[in-house]
Symmetry: C2
Subunit: 486 residues, 2 copies
C-alpha cells in the first residue's frame, strides 16, 4: 500500500497507474486557481482544475471582490475621478504595505503591470462601472467601482507615496462582489476548455526525481493519480482554519475567534514544503473588526487599557485592528461622543463599557486611573480643534474633536469581539509563481499563488483591501502561464 | 559526483564509502553538544562530536554561563537565601515566559527536573559558590551564584507565579562564565571518551529510507561520510548570523546591528527541515541593550517617540528592549534625573538626545509636542511618590520619582544603539529531543536541542537570562540520551 501524505511526495515510480493526465493540474478553484487556469489554457495547455468543495469559490467568493490596482498614470476610474497614479508611487505604497516582509520584485512587477491586469480582468468579462465613490468604505453598498481601500491617505503612507484610491470593485449591487467575480472567471475558464473536477481533495504530490510530475487527488473516496506533464499549481489558500498550523506558526491568532475563508487548511503549504519548498513569514496575519460602521464611528479614537492612543485612526480599519492586537492586555476601547455615536453593528460584538458626561466619568467607569484617558482626550481635542494630531498625525476630515457630551467607550475584546482574520504567510515563490526552495532554487514543476504563498499582502500591519485579490489574480495568472510553459 | 546540500539528505545507497563510524554523531560543540555527548557516552554509546570552529564554545562560551533553575522547593542557593520555589510556580513562570509560543510539555518537564539537573551539572564539575546576590544584575561582577535574572518580580509575571531568583551562575570571577562552563563540560566529555573533531562543518545528512543514519562532514577540505548507527544530534545554534534566513523568517532583526553568537548560521535548522523536520516560531528573537548600567539608570523611565510609556521598567532588561522594538518609529528614550544619571556605557551607544531643567524643556529639545512627555513624567512622578504605577504596575524599589533637575533623555536608536540579538525559532522537538516533522511524527534517527530548536526561551517578550542555557544543557542531555538509545 502506497503511503499518501501532504508532507512527502510520492515517487513517480511507485504510482500504480495514472488515472488522469493533463498538462497543468491546478489545486484550488478560488480566484487564484481560476486565473491560473485561464492563462494556462490560453497558452494552449490542457488544464485540470481541482476543487475540494462542490463548486468554485474558496475564500475569494467570500470577499468583496475588490482588487487593488493603480500605477501607470491611473486606471480609467482613477483618472475620471481626477487621480493620477504613477507606477513609482504605486510601487512605493506596495512596499510600505509589505513592511519588513515586502517582496520588492513582486511589488515592482505588479506596479508596472497592474493596469494591463485591469484590462485583462475586463477582457475576461469582469464588469466595472468606472465611477469613484468618495469617503471611507469597507465595501461599496452600491455598484461603485473605485474606493479608498487602504492607508494611502494616512501617515506614514501618505508621506511615502502620493495617495490615490486603488480599490477597484466589480460592478455588483452591495457587498459580496467576490462571488460574482469568481463566477465570471469560472465561465471564462470553462469556455477555454478547462476541465473542472469538484469534490476533489489533494492527498500528495508526485515527484520524478527532483521534478513534480503530478498530484494525487481523492475523488469518489479513492486516490486518483494525476499526471501533469507541465506542472502543478497550488492555489489552496492560507491556514486560518488549521488550528495545529496556527499553533506552530501563527499562535497570535489563537486569541481571535473568527477565521475567514472556506475551511482554508494550509494543505497547499504543506504539499509545497513537503516537496522542497520554503514557507516564509508564517507568523503574519490580517485581522479586522468592522469598527468603522455605522459611519460616524470611523471618527472615534482608540485607546489601550492604559488610556493611551496607539494609532492614527484614519488609516485602514485593518491596520488599526492589527495595531490594537499589539496592545498589552486583552482589549482596547473605541471612544465616541454623542455626535459620533450610533448603535454598533450587532455582528461586531462591541459592547458599551463606559459612559459619562465627561471623559473623566468614562475613565472612572473603565476603572482607569484619574488623569489617564481624560488627559488623552483633552490633549486630543485641544489639537483636533486646531486640525492637528501631534502624536499620530491623524488628518482631517477624520480628525474631529470628540467633545459633545455624553461620551461612550466601546470595548473591543480580542476574544469576544468580531475580529475576523486570515493568514498571510506561505510558500516562497518567484514572480513567475515558481515555488522556491530553502536553497533558493525553484522546485521543478511546482507553482503556487494566492494565500498559500507569501505575496503582495505580506505584512499584517500594512494590509489594504484588495491586496490579496490583486495578488491572487495577478500572480495566479503568472503561475498558470509559467506552468503551461513546462 | 554526489550532490551535498543542507536542504536534501544524501541517500545511504549513494554514499561512496564510510569514512567514520560511530553510534551517535553530534554536530556543534557548545553547551548543548557537550551535554548531549556526555549523556550519550555515559549511556555507553561511541560518540563523535563535531565542531565547525577550532575549539569548543559556540554561542554558549560567549554567554554569562547562567542557567535558569528552580522548582521542587528550591535549590541550595535559593533556600539558603530564604526563597522557596515550588515546581508549580516554576512551571507557571516558564509558560508565561513562553507566551503564545510556550511548549507546555517542555516547561512542565524542566520544572520537575531542574533541581536534578542542577545536581547533575555540579556532578560534572560545574562549581557554584551557593550564595545569593541581591539587586538587579545582568551578570554578577563577582563569583556569586544566584541572581534575579528575569521578570519574576515584575508584573504581570509576579501575579502569575510566586517570584524567586532563579539565575544560577557558575563560580567565576566577573562576567563571562560561559567559557568556563563549556570548559568543564568539555573536560567531562573527553574524560568519558567522546571523540572531538574540530574544523568540521556539516554538509548534509544521510538517510536510509526514512531514517537518518549519518552526516557528511567537511574535514580537511573534503567530505567525510560519517555513519551514526544510533542517531545524529543537531546542536548548531540559531541563525542570527544568516542574513538570508533572517530576511525570510525573522525580518524584524534586520533593524538591529549586533547579532550574538559564534557565526550561528542556521545550518542545523536547514539540515533538520531538509530531512523532514518542522521549524516553528521562526520570527521570534531575543534582544537586549545594556540600559540598566551604570546601575542608577535601571531606575529610568522609557517613553516612545510620542512621549508615552510602554512598559513597567522593573521587568527584565531584555523584555523592556523587546517591547521598545514594538514601538512606532526608529527609537525610544530613557529618561533620567540627575539623581539617576551617570555616563552611559560607551559600548551601549546611547546618546544624550535632550536635557533640561524641567521635563518640559526635555520634551521641547526632543521636538515633542508640549504636554506629551512632560505630562507623562508629571503623572509618573505624582504616583511614584505614592509608591504606585497605575499604568504599568512598576514596583518599588525600582519605582522612583525622577524629579531632581536637571533631566536627561538618552536615545536608544534601533539602528545605532547596541541592541544585541539572537534567534529563538527553530526545529520542533519532543521533550526527548526527537526532531518532529510537519506530520507530527518523529524523524527517525534525528535529534536536536539548543537554539537550533524552539525550546524554553520560545518568545522574545518573555526571555529571562539563563533560559537558553537551561534549555541547551537540559534538552541537550535529553537528546544525547535518547540518541544513544537508538
Amino acid at each position: 500500500m502506497i503511503e499518501l501524505s501532504l508532507h512527502r511526495p510520492v515517487a513517480a515510480a511507485d504510482v500504480p497507474a495514472w488515472d488522469m493526465e493533463t498538462d497543468v493540474a491546478i489545486v484550488g478553484f478560488g480566484a487564484t486557481g481560476a486565473c491560473a487556469a485561464i492563462e494556462a489554457a490560453q497558452a494552449g495547455a490542457r488544464v485540470l482544475l481541482f476543487e475540494r468543495g462542490s463548486g468554485s469559490g474558496g475564500a475569494s467568493a467570500l470577499s468583496g471582490g475588490e482588487i487593488y490596482i493603480g500605477g501607470s498614470g491611473g486606471t480609467d476610474a482613477q483618472r475620471a475621478a481626477g487621480f493620477e497614479d504613477s507606477t513609482e508611487d504605486f510601487a512605493a505604497y506596495l512596499k510600505a504595505a509589505g513592511g519588513p516582509c515586502a517582496d520588492d520584485a513582486k511589488c515592482d512587477l505588479y506596479a508596472r503591470e497592474a493596469l494591463a491586469h485591469y484590462d485583462w480582468l475586463k477582457a475576461q468579462g469582469v464588469p466595472y462601472r468606472g465611477n469613484y465613490l468618495p469617503g471611507k468604505h469597507i465595501e461599496p453598498t452600491d455598484d461603485s467601482t473605485l474606493i479608498w481601500s487602504g492607508s494611502e491617505a494616512a501617515a506614514p503612507f501618505c508621506d511615502i507615496a502620493k495617495p490615490a484610491p486603488r480599490g477597484h470593485v466589480i460592478a455588483h449591487m452591495g457587498w459580496g462582489g467576490g462571488r460574482p467575480l469568481v463566477d465570471v472567471l469560472e465561465r471564462r475558464a470553462r469556455a477555454l476548455g478547462v476541465q473542472v473536477v469538484t469534490d476533489a481533495r489533494a492527498l500528495a504530490l508526485i515527484k520524478d526525481g527532483e521534478r513534480v510530475v503530478g498530484v494525487v487527488m481523492r475523488i469518489d473516496n479513492r486516490p486518483h493519480f494525476v499526471r501533469a506533464t507541465r506542472g502543478v499549481v497550488l492555489a489552496t489558500g492560507g491556514f486560518a482554519f488549521n488550528e495545529d498550523m496556527r499553533r506552530r506558526y501563527c499562535p497570535e491568532t489563537l486569541r481571535l475567534s473568527s477565521p475567514i475563508g472556506d475551511q482554508d487548511d494550509g494543505s497547499g503549504i504543506e504539499l509545497g514544503v513537503g516537496a522542497g519548498g520554503d514557507a516564509i513569514h508564517m507568523e503574519q496575519y490580517f485581522t479586522t473588526c468592522p469598527w468603522t460602521m455605522p459611519e460616524p464611528q470611523a471618527k472615534g479614537v482608540f485607546v489601550n487599557q492604559m488610556g493611551q492612543r496607539f494609532i492614527n485612526e484614519d488609516c485602514y480599519h485593518g491596520r488599526v485592528s492589527r495595531c490594537a492586537l499589539d496592545q498589552p492586555g486583552d482589549r482596547v476601547y473605541l471612544l465616541l461622543d454623542i455626535a459620533h455615536f450610533d448603535q454598533p453593528l450587532e455582528m461586531a460584538g462591541m459592547s458599551i463599557a463606559g459612559t459619562g458626561e465627561t471623559w473623566e466619568e468614562v475613565e472612572a467607569e473603565l476603572g482607569m486611573a484619574p488623569g489617564t484617558l481624560s488627559a488623552t482626550m483633552a490633549f486630543y481635542n485641544d489639537h483636533a480643534r486646531e486640525g492637528r494630531d501631534p502624536l499620530f498625525d491623524k488628518r482631517a476630515p477624520i480628525l474631529t474633536p470628540l467633545d459633545q457630551a455624553p461620551f461612550v467607550a466601546l470595548e473591543l475584546n480580542f476574544a469576544t469581539t468580531y475580529f475576523s482574520f486570515f493568514t498571510l504567510g506561505g510558500l516562497r515563490t518567484s514572480t513567475d509563481g515558481e515555488v522556491i526552495g530553502r536553497d533558493g532554487k525553484a522546485v521543478s514543476g511546482l507553482f503556487a499563488a494566492g494565500r498559500c504563498t507569501s505575496g503582495l499582502p505580506a505584512w499584517g500591519h500594512g494590509y489594504s483591501s484588495g491586496l490579496s485579490l490583486a495578488d491572487c489574480t495577478f500572480f495566479g495568472r503568472q503561475a498558470g502561464r509559467r506552468a503551461a510553459a513546462g
